[in-house]
Symmetry: C2
Subunit: 404 residues, 2 copies
DNA sequence: CTAATTAAGTCAAGCGAGTTGACTTAATGC
DNA sequence: GCATTAAGTCAACTCGCTTGACTTAATTAG
């Protein structure tokens, strides 16, 4: 968003933009509906049969779609459905957390094909980056073993890490101060030769839910992510919204009351960090996930007390989110074990009344989303895929760098 | 959003979409930058000189832009700047409130050319509609007196009224139950022969700020509107966001705490309705505006007490909005007299710390926006203008079927 | 005062993605 | 068997943006 000229204006478009958009529309339609024939696509996208035929032919020769057996359905010539080819594109996703980093390789459909994790030194990013680069290299090697074309078809590296980004220098331990200052993206771009993009962890979670989860094909959804911190990933008009500085949805530091004793950040009440503190656990313990799972399954009293408290605040967070965004659904995801997340969602019932409490709803107000701890890395990987293949406004305009 | 076919897909586009987008981009560029030459436009929009020339020629013959005197600026042939023609398009805006309705006619630049108001029976919409239709007809006559082409160039009728819309039947007096049930849009469309669109009042306020106010050219802004109720108008990525049911930003009914005695709707603490109640005023009084102005100027003790309380809650609302949206700025607008609104904004200082408290800010965190009571009607009128002339994603697609 | 330079804007041919309408292919159903 | 229905192709066409050369008109250097 740097202004080269002092004149403010949106970019124009031309036939290239048209064609890029139509390709993306086809891909999205196949992703959302499974296999479709050219005639189906023509009806769904309002394009002519001929235009669709040309585009599909193109996509087929690019190895992004493939024909299935013809199917007869009533009168007329049988139709030939096409589906996406998972191996048509790949992306690497990287999740950087306080004590741990995970890397995955995914395909066009969002299937995870390779994964690796490693511990991370909390305050030594220059060392950490070496670990990360090795991790990525390993995942790439694994991927190359699965598909010979993987390197050619790699669209980018998506990075997810806790936000918020770009604030005042601070030593707040929540914010991984050493990492905030480190030129991470540049280093990774140089070290991998890939296009690199950054999201916060909650946004990545929403991206994951959108490609292979509860938000698949939902255009207005908010994804509450309860991890070490807490954040919301916003899907508005079918696109991830990141705000003016990439910090939209960073509700962890939001105060629960304007003043007085109740005026604590949400993060201090409803996050895994607060749970660890409540239980006296050490977040750097390698088996902490197992410990929590055991406590959740045993309905440990102390944990249940924390759940009650967190649910109290989260119930209200959902109420606020519904009032502000009017989403089709709210999805709660978590880095915690599934048993814990499930109990948390149960404890949030009944939800507070809100404008979401309307007749004719199609989706539940609150759903439990993915609780796989790898889902943030998956979402990170899904971001470059989305950028390359989803129908976005920015993809139509003339300087939408790096299309594919 | 009705699915004609069971296949979910975005619409494709073609040269018409391209051309429509480029026209809109030109218009927006002229709106944001004043007068620009063809060469300027070509640089700003990344289109070729020739393409711009053709489009400008088109716009000129459509009466939307006009050439100014050539200006010399250094070497080379002098450039001929073009500017928008205010009389290039008109729209009618209608603001329906509990006891009052206002209609305005605006031009392409958002200047109000005619206005009229009338009292409205609170719970008799069928009578009310007749009053409204007459009001609109009067404004249209006035407009016709100003420009002979006004009828030909009328792009639509925008309606703003308090939300939320489409909830369960209720007798909540806040929500104007009789009006919610009445088929208002259909009746107005039939009665005026115009395209009709609906927004809630806060959204209209944001639309007004965007066309001629503090949000002019700002792509990420939240507009807090303190009227009879309270709501937020959301400008995200340069477009108004209305949520999945047009109720985004309806924070009036949001509870200030999850439970307990503090658990009241924001609307009961920070809205003009709460002020009227606090002061024992009757909102149906025709001189209530003057009364409030007098009290504000006199720094009436009771009013100052209300301001303190409202500012307390609003300060926190801004904090939450900043945490959630990461906007470039928050704009407070109000139907209250300017003196009152100014005191309210002052009382909100200092703001609570938040992620908006970052280095390198270009805009203030909180600004006082328009306090003209006609601004909602203006925003209502600006909506059809925006829909017809702003570069929107939906404008590129093939069936930009009239949504709202 | 002239010539070189710089920049705005036009001209005319070309390109290319979607459109159009007729045609082919291949099923079902009466 | 023949009419009907629908998928998909062919080939000519359209129309908005692009390309590159050209014209116009100013400033600046010598």
């Amino acid at each position: 968003m740097d202004d080269i000229s002092p004149i403010r204006a949106k970019s124009g478009t031309n036939q290239e933009g048209t064609s890029a958009h139509n390709r993306r529309v086809m891909i999205e339609a196949l992703r959302l509906n499974g296999a479709l024939s050219r005639a189906d696509l023509a009806r769904a996208t309002q394009l002519t049969k001929q235009a669709v035929s040309n585009i599909i032919e193109d996509l087929e020769s690019d190895g992004l779609v493939v024909a299935l057996d013809a199917v007869r359905k009533g009168r007329g010539q049988p139709s030939t459905p096409y589906r996406l080819v998972p191996e048509g594109a790949f992306a690497i996703g990287l999740h950087i957390d306080r004590h741990l980093t995970r890397a995955v390789a995914v395909d066009l459909m969002g299937s995870v094909l390779a994964r690796a994790e490693a511990n991370l030194p909390f305050d030594e990013p220059s060392k950490g980056v070496e670990i990360i680069l090795e991790l990525i290299a390993g995942v790439r090697r694994d991927l190359a073993g699965i598909s010979a074309q993987s390197e050619k078809r790699l669209v980018g590296l998506g990075v997810a890490m806790p936000g918020p980004f770009g604030l005042k220098d601070s030593d707040d331990k929540w914010m991984m101060p050493a990492w905030q200052k480190f030129p991470l993206l540049e280093t990774l771009a140089k070290g991998t030769g890939l296009n690199v993009g950054l999201q916060n962890d909650a946004a990545a979670c929403a991206t994951a839910e959108r490609i292979v989860g509860a938000a698949h094909g939902v255009d207005h959804a908010v994804c509450l992510y309860v991890g070490y911190g807490i954040g919301a990933g916003l899907i508005l008009n079918g696109e991830l919204y990141s705000g003016s500085n990439g910090n939209a949805g960073e509700i962890g530091m939001a105060l629960l009351a304007p003043a007085g004793p109740g005026s604590t950040p949400l993060e201090h009440r409803a996050s895994l960090a607060s749970l660890y503190q409540h239980l006296g656990l050490n977040p750097a313990d390698s088996d902490i996930y197992k410990q929590m799972n055991a406590l959740a399954l045993a309905e440990d009293a102390k944990m249940m007390a924390w759940i009650e408290g967190a649910a109290h605040d989260l119930r209200w967070s959902v109420h606020l989110i519904e009032s502000i965004f009017d989403p089709q659904t709210v999805i709660l995801t978590s880095g915690a074990p599934a048993a814990l997340a499930r109990r948390l969602v149960e404890a949030m019932q009944p939800l507070l009344p809100s404008i979401a409490d309307r007749p004719g709803r199609m989706l539940p107000r609150l759903q439990l989303g993915t609780t796989d701890p790898w889902s943030i890395a998956l979402g990170a990987a899904a971001a470059p895929i989305s950028r390359a293949f989803d129908p976005l406004f920015s993809a139509i305009l003339k300087t939408s760098s790096a299309p594919v």
